[in-house]
């Protein structure tokens, strides 16, 4: 897989403190294990990896790295302990590539600086893999992390 990285996305890598080799490695692992999310049309994938205290995501197509984002809050598990059916439409726009199941929009417990709270996640009910969408990571979690850093100091 030959992945192109535009200057714009390269800047995103720098902003998130992620090296090019790291992100390519995350994509490579996701491609070989199948552990990734893919869009319903199959054209876009999200791979997840960890680096020290950061969870890093690569959003990519067959040819190009489209987006990079990360969060410091560490995903621990499903809020409430287990995936039970909920009474609203919780189907996301993503599919767990490994299981072929639609990823569900569910709360996941996250921990940062000794504080554990829920956050909006994407969960595969079959294999239990948990992800955070770009929108949630870049807005909700980024602000939450900043507040925790200020208030826990």
């Amino acid at each position: 897989m030959d992945i192109k990285i535009t200057e714009q996305v390269d800047n995103l890598l720098k902003d998130n403190g992620v090296r090019k080799e790291e992100i390519l490695d995350i994509i490579k692992k996701a491609e070989s294990s199948g552990q990734k999310l893919k869009s319903k049309d199959g054209n876009t994938c999200i791979a997840k990896g960890a680096s020290e205290n950061l969870t890093i995501y690569a959003v990519y197509s067959a040819t190009e790295l489209l987006d990079v984002y990360a969060h410091k809050m560490n995903i621990l598990g499903i809020t409430g302990g287990e995936i039970k059916p909920v009474e609203y439409d919780d189907a996301s726009d993503w599919i767990c590539a490994k299981c072929g199941e639609v990823a569900l929009e569910r709360n996941v417990d996250m921990s940062y600086l000794g504080v554990t709270r829920p956050g909006p996640g994407l969960v595969c009910a079959k294999c239990g893999e948990m992800y955070v969408s770009a929108g949630m990571a870049k807005s909700t979690l980024k602000t939450a992390e900043a507040i925790l850093e200020e208030k826990r100091a």
């Binding site: 809020t79 609203y88 929108g135 208030k151």
Partner: protein, 370 residues
């Protein structure tokens, strides 16, 4: 009264109250549970003014609220809101009332056809509208004059609350039976409105708290299936969109009224790391904090309540006894606890009753978990 007529907030008090208020959100140890009696127009009565005056003068309103926070020793946040937000932006008339929060008349949606034609205002249009103009006047005053008491909120209500500010409650409830799909449409539009309104506050102030939940949509007026369809589901959808749009990260689920039959639904409502759940009543009785903590304590911050009817018309001893029971059951809830009232502090509640509530938190709300 202009700003110079108020004495500056006591910085010692503010420092300590700030610590107490931080604990339920980030688990930073402090002495005891903080109280939030949701003081709005009640603050005006401490200045011998009425609710009408409070809501006609949003800048003075928040000065009175901030002064009341210090006087009562409660959550140090300058709030301003009323239930019937957003009607006026869409053409309804807002009626300032002497002894109650503003109400609205002449709602814009009168027929089923109106629902189809109804267009949700954009973020830019809402910013120019009457609701946010007033809301921002209040919040700007807090930001400028009481910066340490500034924690901006967006008052949304849930989808049924927004919907019934657009169409009369009688019509909406009739359609729920005769044309439920019409109410679905209305609730989707209400959800879209919520996203645009929250985005407006986020763009102006950054991090903020959205107040949502289910007030009209309670067990007093609707059954579980109706609450699920017209409140829980569209509200959940809207909250996710609001968070994705970069608004939040605070989410406050205000489940006013009786929620015996539907409270469990909300356990899986979308949550951010700063989420609080408040439930008013369990049947006719105040919602037991023990039950709240049992169901939500391992999920989010819990807001335990004392009956507003008791705060309004009970004795200090009655308020104190109920507050004691609630605070003992909630104080060490794993993800934080706040003691407050089931809904906003009644305008003309006796101040001694609010004091009794706070005294109970001081006497029985010392943390043991830290």
């Amino acid at each position: 009264m202009p700003a110079q007529d108020y004495i500056p907030i006591d910085q010692n008090w503010l420092g300590n109250a700030g610590k107490l208020w931080t604990t339920p959100w980030v688990d930073k140890p402090s002495d005891r549970v903080i109280v939030d009696p949701i003081i709005l127009s009640h603050a005006a009565t401490l200045f011998r003014k009425n609710a009408g005056y409070f809501y006609s003068n949003p800048d003075e309103a928040v000065r009175m609220v901030c002064a009341a926070c210090e006087l009562y020793d409660v959550t140090p946040v300058g709030h301003y809101l009323y239930a019937d937000y957003w009607g006026a932006d869409y053409g309804a008339e807002i009626k300032i009332q002497t002894n109650a929060p503003p109400g609205i008349t002449n709602r814009p949606i009168k027929t089923a056809e109106d629902v189809d034609k109804f267009e949700v205002l954009s973020t830019e249009e809402l910013v120019k509208g009457p609701t946010l103009a007033t809301h921002y006047k209040a919040l700007d005053t807090v930001k400028n004059e009481y910066p340490q008491m500034f924690a901006p909120i967006t008052q949304l209500g849930g989808t049924m609350e927004v919907a019934t500010n657009w169409a009369s409650i009688e019509d909406v409830f009739m359609w729920m039976i005769t044309e439920p799909e019409l109410v679905d449409k209305l609730c989707i539009k209400a959800g879209d409105h919520m996203v645009n309104a929250c985005r407006a506050t986020a763009e102006r102030y950054g991090a903020n708290v959205m107040i949502t939940g289910s007030v009209i949509a309670s067990g007093d007026l609707m059954d579980r299936e109706q609450i699920k369809r017209f409140s829980y589901q569209p509200v959940s959808r809207a909250v996710r969109k609001v968070l994705s749009a970069g608004a939040g990260p605070g989410v406050y689920y205000h489940l006013c009224g009786n929620h015996t039959d539907d409270f469990d639904l909300w356990k899986d409502a979308p949550m951010s790391p700063f989420t609080i759940v408040q439930i008013g009543y369990d049947g006719q009785k105040i919602f037991p904090t023990s039950k709240l903590v049992e169901n939500f304590g391992d999920r989010c911050t819990c807001f335990g309540t004392v009956d507003t009817k008791l705060v309004d018309r009970g004795t200090p001893a009655q308020v104190y006894a109920q507050a004691k029971e609630q605070v003992l059951a909630g104080k060490d809830s794993p993800r934080g606890f706040i003691l407050g009232t089931a809904c906003e502090c009644p305008t003309n509640a006796p101040p001694v009753n609010v004091h009794a509530l706070v005294r109970a938190a001081k006497d029985f709300g010392k943390y043991e978990k830290f």
